[in-house]
Symmetry: C2
Subunit: 407 residues, 2 copies
C-alpha cells in the first residue's frame, strides 16, 4: 500500500485535479528544441487537425500592405511555415536554416486558429495577444545578455506609489542591483518608459531588461543602478489583471496617454523613488529612456525638467505624430520646443541618445528632429539599426544606452 | 499626412511587427464575460473548427478511475461543455448556472486540442500545463480576498539568496506589507512552502497569496507581516525559465525534493531574511506553512527546529507517503518523530494548524497523524473542507491560517 501511495503521490501531489488531468492526458512532446546544429524544431500534438502552421519573427518576413483612408500602410510581417504530421498526430517543423541568436515570438496556427505553444511555458503578453517565446542565447552574441546566467541577480519588485495626479495608488517595477540591500552606498537611478499598449511589465517581459542589467553589471560594463519601470498610462493603476478593474481587456487606446498628464505627473514618481531608496538624488545620478510613446514621454519630461536628467534616451520615439497638437487643453508641456531645447542644452546634459530602425514608420519624424538638433549644433548620439518598430531593436538600444550611464 | 500618421500610430505604436499582425487579424471576441445574472459566457473564434469544448473546474465534475499496478486511482475530473457556433465562426457557451464566487481554471478543447483562451490574458502555469483563469469575486464571499482592491498594496519582490547547501544562488518571492519601507518597526515573518511540481511563483499565481495578504491586512484581520515564498526544490535555482538552464521542462520528479535536503538547508533562508529585512528574529515572530509536499516540509522543519517557529500550518500535508523511509541515506531529520513531537510540544508552540479536504487522497495519513497527536494530548487546530487536493482548498487554508498569526 505504501508503494501504491508513493506512485499516486508522485503523479498527483501538489497539483489541482485539473492539472492531474493534464498530467495524465496532456501533451508530452518537446517544443521548442534548439538543435545542436543551430536549427530549431517545433512540435504540436494535434491528431485531428487538418493543417498546422507556425508564424514567428525568425521566419523570413513577408511584405504586407494595407490601404487605409486612401493611404498605404506597409510593413513586414513574420513568415508562415507548414508543419508536417508525424505518426501519433504530432506535427513537426524544423527550420531549414540556423536560427540566429535572438529572442523571438511565435504562435501556431491550427486550422487557422492562432494558439500559443502548449509545451512552452514561456509566454508573453503583447497588448492583447499571447505569444510563445523562443530565446536563442549564444556566448558572445548580444542575445546572451537576454539569458539568465549564474551571476549575481538584482531584486525585481512590484511596488505601489500614491499618485496625487491620478488620485489612486499605481504600480511600478523596481530593479535594485545585487548588493543593494547590504550596501550603504547611494545609487543612481534610471527610469524606463514603455510604448502605447504597454505597462510596467513590458520592459521586464518582452524587453528582458532585468537580465540585461544583471549581465552588464556582472561583466563590469554598466554601473550598478536602480532601474524604475513606470506605467505610462496614468488612467491605469497597474498592468491588466494586476489592478482592481478585473477583466479589463488590454487596449491601445487608453485615455490620457499622450496628452501631457503622465509627463506632468512624472516628478511624483522621482520623488517617491528618492524618498524610499538610497539614491544620489540629483541630476548627475538620474537617467530616463523610453520606447515609442515612452520615447515621446522621455523627450517632454526631459525638456520640461531641464535640471532633472543628465542622460536621456529616445528609442524609436513617437515624435511628430501630431499628438502634441491634438492634445486636449493645449498643454504647456508641449509648447515652445525651441526655447526648451535651448535651455536644456545650455545646462550641458551628459547624453541625449537617439536610436531608430531603418524601416521604422517613425524614421522620418526622427530624422526631422535630428535635423533640428543639427541645425542648432546640439550634441547627441545616434544609432540606426536594421528593422522597424520592434522589440529586437528596443533590447539593442537598451543594452547600448545603459553602459553609457553614470560614468 | 499628420492625420494618417496618427491613425497608423494608434494601430502600430509600441508593438512588435508580430503584434501588429495580431492587432489587424487577431481575435476580437470578449471572453470570459461574467454576466450580471452570475452566469459566465466563454467565446472562442474558430471558423474552421468542427467541435469546440470547454473544460474547467467550475463545471460539474466527472468521476474518473485509473488502474495502475493493480491499484485503482480515483479522482474527480472537471466536466466538459460543448460550445455552439454562432455566425462569424465565434463559438460560445454560457453556463446554465450561476458560477459561485471562486477562482477557477479552464481551457478550450478545439477539435480535441487543449488550448488556453486567447482572449484572456490571465494565464497560470501549473507544473507543465498552461491554463486560463476565471476569477469570480463577490463582496462578502471568500473569493473577494483573491481580487485586487483599492487598498494599500504590499511590495512583491523576486529576491536571490546564496544557498551554501545548493552551491548556487536561489530565488525567493518576498512580500513586505504596505508601509514597510517607511516604517522603523520590526516585522514578524511567515514562510510559505509549495507542493511538488511548484516553485516560488506558485503561491502568488495560483494561490493569490499576496492579494489575500493585502486584503486581510487592510481589513485589520491579519497583522502586517513579511511573507517569504520559498522554492522547495533544492536542485533548482528558480522557477522554470527563470533560471540559467533555459528550456528545462517543468517536472514533478526533481531530485532532492523529499529526502531531507531542503528541510536541512532551511535555516539558511531564515538567516538570509533576518539579516536583510527588519524582522523580530525570534520564535514569537516566526511562522511556517505549506501545502502538500510543503506541508511535509513544514512538519519536519518545525520538529527539527523546535525553537524556530511559534506557528506551523500543514495544508493537505503529504505525510505517510513513505518518502521518509525511501529517502536515501536515512536522514536524521526524519527519525524519532515521537521524541521530536514531545520536545516540540513541551516548548508550547502557539499553534499547530492542520487542514485537509474530505476527498483528499492524503486524508487517511493525516487522520493517522492526528490520532497520534490526540493520543498524546498534543493540541492543534483542525479544518476539514469539501473537495480534495486542490488550490481552492489551499487558498481557504491560507486565508484561515494567516489571521491566527502573531496575535
Amino acid at each position: 500500500m505504501k508503494k501504491f501511495i508513493l506512485i499516486a503521490f508522485t503523479l498527483l501531489l501538489g497539483t489541482s485535479a485539473f492539472a492531474q488531468q493534464a498530467l495524465f492526458g496532456g501533451p508530452s512532446v518537446e517544443s521548442p528544441v534548439i538543435n545542436p546544429d543551430g536549427t530549431v524544431t517545433f512540435r504540436y500534438q494535434a491528431p485531428k487537425a487538418i493543417k498546422v502552421q507556425l508564424t514567428g519573427d525568425f521566419l523570413p518576413t513577408q511584405h504586407m500592405e494595407y490601404e487605409m483612408n486612401g493611404q498605404k500602410i506597409a510593413f513586414d510581417s513574420p513568415g508562415v511555415a507548414d508543419l508536417q504530421e508525424r505518426p501519433g498526430g504530432v506535427w513537426e517543423y524544423t527550420t531549414p536554416f540556423v536560427v540566429e541568436p535572438e529572442m523571438y515570438t511565435y504562435t501556431f496556427r491550427v486550422d487557422g486558429n492562432s494558439v500559443v505553444d502548449p509545451n512552452n511555458m514561456f509566454v508573453n503578453r503583447d497588448v492583447a495577444s499571447l505569444t510563445s517565446v523562443l530565446l536563442v542565447p549564444k556566448a558572445g552574441a548580444r542575445s546572451d545578455l537576454y539569458a539568465i546566467h549564474k551571476v549575481p541577480h538584482g531584486t525585481v519588485s512590484k511596488v505601489w506609489y500614491h499618485s496625487d495626479k491620478a488620485g489612486f495608488d499605481r504600480r511600478l517595477t523596481v530593479y535594485t542591483p545585487a548588493g543593494y540591500e547590504k550596501s550603504k552606498a547611494k545609487y543612481p537611478v534610471l527610469f524606463v518608459l514603455h510604448g502605447i499598449g504597454g505597462d510596467e511589465d513590458a520592459w521586464v517581459t518582452q524587453g528582458r531588461a532585468t537580465q540585461i542589467l544583471d549581465n552588464l553589471i556582472a561583466r563590469g560594463q554598466a554601473k550598478p543602478m536602480i532601474v524604475v519601470f513606470t506605467n505610462g498610462n496614468i488612467s491605469e493603476e497597474a498592468a491588466p489583471l494586476e489592478n482592481s478593474t478585473g477583466y479589463t481587456r488590454p487596449t491601445m487606446s487608453l485615455p490620457q496617454t499622450m496628452e501631457g498628464s503622465f509627463e506632468t505627473a512624472f516628478p511624483e514618481i522621482v520623488k517617491f523613488i528618492e524618498s524610499n531608496y538610497r539614491t544620489i538624488g540629483k541630476k548627475q545620478g538620474r537617467a530616463i529612456c523610453g520606447l515609442s510613446m515612452g520615447g515621446f514621454h522621455t523627450l517632454y519630461i526631459t525638456l520640461n525638467n531641464p535640471d532633472m536628467f543628465n542622460y536621456s534616451g529616445m528609442f524609436s520615439a513617437a515624435i511628430g505624430t501630431g499628438s502634441e497638437q491634438s492634445a486636449t487643453g493645449n498643454p504647456e508641456i508641449y509648447k515652445d520646443m525651441d526655447g526648451k531645447l535651448a535651455t536644456y542644452f545650455a545646462k550641458k546634459p551628459a547624453l541625449l541618445w537617439i536610436g531608430i530602425g531603418k524601416t521604422d514608420f517613425l524614421i522620418q519624424s526622427n530624422n526631422d528632429f535630428r535635423k533640428k538638433l543639427d541645425a542648432a549644433g546640439y550634441p547627441y548620439k545616434y544609432m540606426e539599426t536594421d528593422g522597424g518598430h520592434i522589440w529586437r531593436n528596443w533590447r539593442i538600444y537598451f543594452s547600448e544606452f545603459v553602459p553609457l550611464l553614470f560614468k
